[in-house]
Amino acid sequence: MSEKEHNVSRRQFLTYTLTGVGGFMAAGMLMPMVRMAVDPVLEVGAEGDMVAVADLDELTEEPQSFPLNFEQDDGWYEAEIEETAWIYLDGDDVVALSPECTHLGCTVNWEANEDEPERFFCPCHFGLFERDGTNVPNTPPTEPLHRYEHEVRDGTVYLGRPQPQV
């Protein structure tokens, strides 16, 4: 039988097998490295713990700022983070808002602008939010302040992580 009668020539067969074996080896070498590099993308976020922040009877209808301490895992580095939350009572309901402006992340304050009572004010670009966090139209922020997940147990208010309201 001559070379021509084969569907796959000897040279083609060699090319296929060598490329296959070479590709397999290269993949075996690179796969662990690439998997390691993309690990942060594939990692499932750990459920955050709820942190005790305030007693229920400290709360009023008026938003007050409370410190919120938690441990943040950043790879091999563990940081003590202190955040604040604006917390108030809406009837029997607890509302906890993140002070992080939804425009570019400055910190908002309750009634910090005398001309805008009953509103959160952001000093950076004069963003305004209503008491429930809704952004005031025609100011830079485009979405309401984020709201902390919360839980009340034995008269103590626990907060989780802030979630977008929309």
Binding site: M29, P32, M33, M36, D39, L42, W76, Y77
Partner: protein, 224 residues
Amino acid sequence: MLQRIYDWVDERMDITPLWRDIADHEVPEHVNPAHHFSAFVYCFGGLTFFTVVIQFLSGMFLTMYYVPDIINAYESVMYLQSEVAFGMIVRGMHHWGASVVIVMMFLHTLRVFFTGAYKKPRELNWVVGVLIFFVILGLGFTGYLLPWDMKAYFATVVALEIAESVPVVGEMIRVLLAGHEELLGAQTLTRFFAIHVFFLPGALLGLLAAHFIMIRRQGISGPL
């Protein structure tokens, strides 16, 4: 598809001679294990290069997690080793690969020595090879300190004392390596890191290029 992309580029740039120069070269019968099985001894140079490539790649990926700092170095190694998916494998490749490079390089040296391939006109390439040998040893030496655990620390303490025992300039060499007059500390670690990931790999690439260009110019040495 690939063929058409290749043709498009080739028509404009004439790239075929570029890779032909690299890929097309004579492999004499006496170095081809398909003819004489004992010719496998000629593979050790290539195997050394192959493991060096693995070292480069795995090292690049390891620096995504490693920090050369006395407070965080050990923690970051522990983290990438135990928390990151496949981190243990990649660090294992770099760790064991370091020894494999040295073994392969040693076998390659033996083969060149016993086949007399270092003789005229290839003396210069032997010299470059010896320089590569020292650069690789330097990489092993500086890399050993980076995990910043007890073994790494005290191995380097000993190595620096050996360096200090050199007559006259010993003290200077030790301070130059340690980056501090008395301590083996923060400045030693950053220094070793810089040498390990920038200076020596750079030197190694240059030397390897010279090594390979010389082989291509002079061809493979004849049979025994």
